[in-house]
Subunit: 474 residues, 2 copies
């Protein structure tokens, strides 16, 4: 379970002199957009992760693809690691600097370069956040659907292959990115994919870079698919007697091809957290938050069909979020699930983890996970993008207690072992980062060697985000 | 436009002795599943391509992944190229053997290994064809949507990132493949992806192998997404005054999010061909073949909305294919477009090519292409998966005439130049093979170097399908 495949750490790391000389040049070249201040360095590694902070040696705010290229080439020449940084909302230690190096902050690359309304696509710089893009699109009748909880940068979302509540209908970043511009480990700038909806012209470099977590290239621009805002959006809440009932209703709806836009499971612990944090008053039972998109008649028909299915599985009648503001409140509560969970045991740390299994295994996998939570006496709410078979568990841990940490580690190991036993994956949308390196071989076997061969071919010096996905030095 | 980036041809090709020794071993090991007969060798390179046939030295019918592994490892040791073969329906010379070698025929690996109805997925061997799979699924209420014209093998469809008429609604092979088993250039067997609907666990090797045209691995098994057969399927034909009208109606429908299942454009030349070949009696004008999937009310609503849009763009009323047999006839005619086109000028060869552009550029790109056809005095029907911006042109050429061949080459060069000018791709679904190598750098620039670096990392001896995608030796 814990076999580890490692790309060697930097074979020939920067000497202190080379580092000083490089940083002196960066300081002269970029002025106050380059900084070695401790506060800034700490902030660039201190994300939502529960892993220990490993600050970079310096931070550079890049403003153009050419600057990124220049910086990466200079870092490569000096053997200094480069850690791309977007909004800082990643969960698995992606932004840590275990070998030191430069945090390359792309948040100022936040221009929306083009919106092609007729083609339902747009071009953005990597630092644009998902909310910023949707704000910009507001008057076009279009929207960008991928919505991780945080207001992440689109570059970071691509790098971690993020998804969110809409994936069951609109796909993940794997599907959303039509093409991208990236800076490779030697500073070369490549453009992949394009604006055509499909292509068979060569290897799918776009999909290779999406999910590569900054280890193959620094994504600086993206071409993204957009969707028309549906004529009618209906949202509501359905409460179930059991987790199985909620999962089975989900399976039945998917099987009949009901085009659910969102179907989110909250266990009774998470509902309790949301009630307190987001001022809801839901029954503390397994609950589905749902959204239906379509024409007016179409959306209403979906609701009727789903209501019938839910009732057959012990679900209560759908509680409507009729007004747009009620709907916003509902989804804000869902997006705030992390903070609501944290609130259930103040003063502790929250370990946000996720797995994804075939939908038919979801009820069993969630149920066994809850039994393990009880057995270990943890507080660990569960929320899930159940239309994808993806769920999150968030153990609340006192990290100063070795005993609690040990229980948490056991829990995580078993959670992933269970997901893999059900032919699932160790992470549906958070990525590997540092936190899941130890599970990758169990999931992909020799496939990891193929990944490492690609990493070595494209980044032979292991400059780009070293110690993520592959390296063992946790 | 014609810059070429080449992976070197086999540096150290098999000596005649090594080849004889290998083939003697294969003959002893595989009996009559291994053959050097001229007829069989010719047949394994003589596909629907217009490129000249380059037969392999021998053919092996493999029956298991382990046999594929054994054969590839032995070929690698002897420096003998391996050309994977499925149904032989590829269009760009993928199955040619410019450096000789072994055609590895997977058509006997045609077992359907599992159908998971609850998860809407299945596992198949690579030699299963799309029609075989759908026949097998008949009683499950599920179907597999990707449908290139030919009854291709699913392994070959994955290898060329194929699509077809349903892609606008159900996606291409890029989307349909959840995971796969492949034999690498050294004979190692890897399994990529999995059965979870999404994953962020490492590089997307599935998507890297899909579309790699047998140059990175021999795909032997696939896990594929399935879909529920919709409650209601409505199909019909809409005739337009102009190509622009048909394209504009398509754009408008997509923009409002109408979930079109199929929207296929035929120009008046192709309609003439289909009328003759498939015994239809359609007006010889630009025509859309359409299909709508949904609940009964939902599908009817889509039809009404589309009819209104079409009328606004000069389209006639929708002619219904009301009975299932009428619908089958319509789509069979569409799938037979290749043969119908060929029939327009008997005795000539048909060059089947495809490009794909952003949908907003479709009308202009098709119109300019038709002007070029007229200028060059070619007969070249056009059919298109216009919901994706993808269209096919099929010049009918007397290949014994140097003059005609020269005009055809000019036409193809300009077609692709035009598609790239509109930010499109040199191939939407046929692949690069040998026929489009010369356009790849114009489309992807330095990206081609990245592809070559990956190819060299995973197949350093250039054993797997050499001379496809990259090599220059046409």
């Amino acid at each position: 379970m814990t076999t580890v495949s490692a790309v060697e750490a930097l074979g020939d790391p920067a000497s202190p002199e080379a580092l000083e000389s490089l940083f002196a040049r960066f300081s002269a070249r970029f002025g106050d957009r380059f900084s070695r201040s401790e506060a800034l360095r700490e902030q660039h590694a201190n994300t939502l992760t529960w892993l220990k902070v490993q600050a970079p040696d310096a931070v550079l705010f890049a403003e153009t693809t050419e600057e990124v290229s220049e910086a990466v080439a200079a870092c490569a020449a000096a053997r200094v690691p480069v850690i791309p940084f977007g909004a800082g909302s990643s969960l698995e230690g992606h932004l840590n600097a275990p070998f030191g190096g430069l945090s390359l902050d792309l948040s100022r690359m936040n221009a929306i370069l083009a919106v092609h309304e007729n083609d339902l696509d747009c071009a953005v710089q990597a630092g644009v956040t998902r909310k910023q893009l949707n704000e910009h699109l507001r008057d076009t009748g279009l929207f960008f659907p991928v919505d991780p909880g945080a207001d992440a940068s689109l570059g970071g979302m691509a790098a971690t292959r993020a998804s969110g509540t809409n994936a069951v209908r609109y796909g993940t970043m794997r599907d959303a990115v039509l093409g991208l511009t990236a800076v490779l480990a030697d500073g070369r700038i490549v453009t992949t994919g394009g604006r055509a909806r499909k292509s068979s012209a060569g290897y799918d470099l776009t999909r290779l870079l999406v999910g590569s977590e900054g280890t193959l290239g620094v994504i600086t621009e993206l071409t993204l698919k957009l969707f028309g805002i549906p004529e009618t959006i209906l949202a509501g809440v359905s409460t179930f007697q059991t987790l199985e009932g909620a999962c089975n209703a989900t399976i039945a709806a998917l099987q009949m091809g009901l085009p659910l836009a969102r179907i989110e499971l909250l266990d009774e612990v998470q509902v309790r957290g949301c009630n307190a944090y987001s001022k809801l008053s839901l029954p503390e039972q397994p609950t589905l938050f749902l959204e239906f998109h379509g024409s007016e008649a179409g959306a209403r028909e979906q609701v009727e069909i789903f209501s019938e299915i839910a009732q057959g599985e012990g679900g209560g009648a759908l509680e409507w979020a009729a007004r747009p503001e009620d709907r916003s409140k509902l989804w804000q509560a869902r997006h705030d699930a992390y903070w609501a969970a944290k609130n259930l045991r103040p003063g502790t740390d929250l370990i946000a983890t996720d797995v994804c299994v075939p939908i038919s295994a979801l009820a069993a996998c969630v149920t066994e996970t809850k039994q393990d939570i009880e057995r270990l006496d943890l507080i660990a709410p569960i929320v899930g993008h159940v239309g994808d078979g993806n769920f999150h568990v968030m153990p609340l841990i006192d990290m100063s207690s070795a005993h609690e940490m040990e229980r948490a580690r056991q829990f995580l190991d078993r959670l992933i072992e269970r997901a893999l036993r059900y032919e699932g994956t160790c992470t549906g949308e958070h990525g590997v980062g540092q936190g899941k390196i130890r599970y990758l071989v169990a999931e992909h076997g020799e496939g990891v060697d193929v990944m490492v061969a690609i990493k070595k071919a494209l980044d032979p010096l292991n400059i780009l985000n070293p110690g993520k996905i592959f390296a063992a030095d946790l």
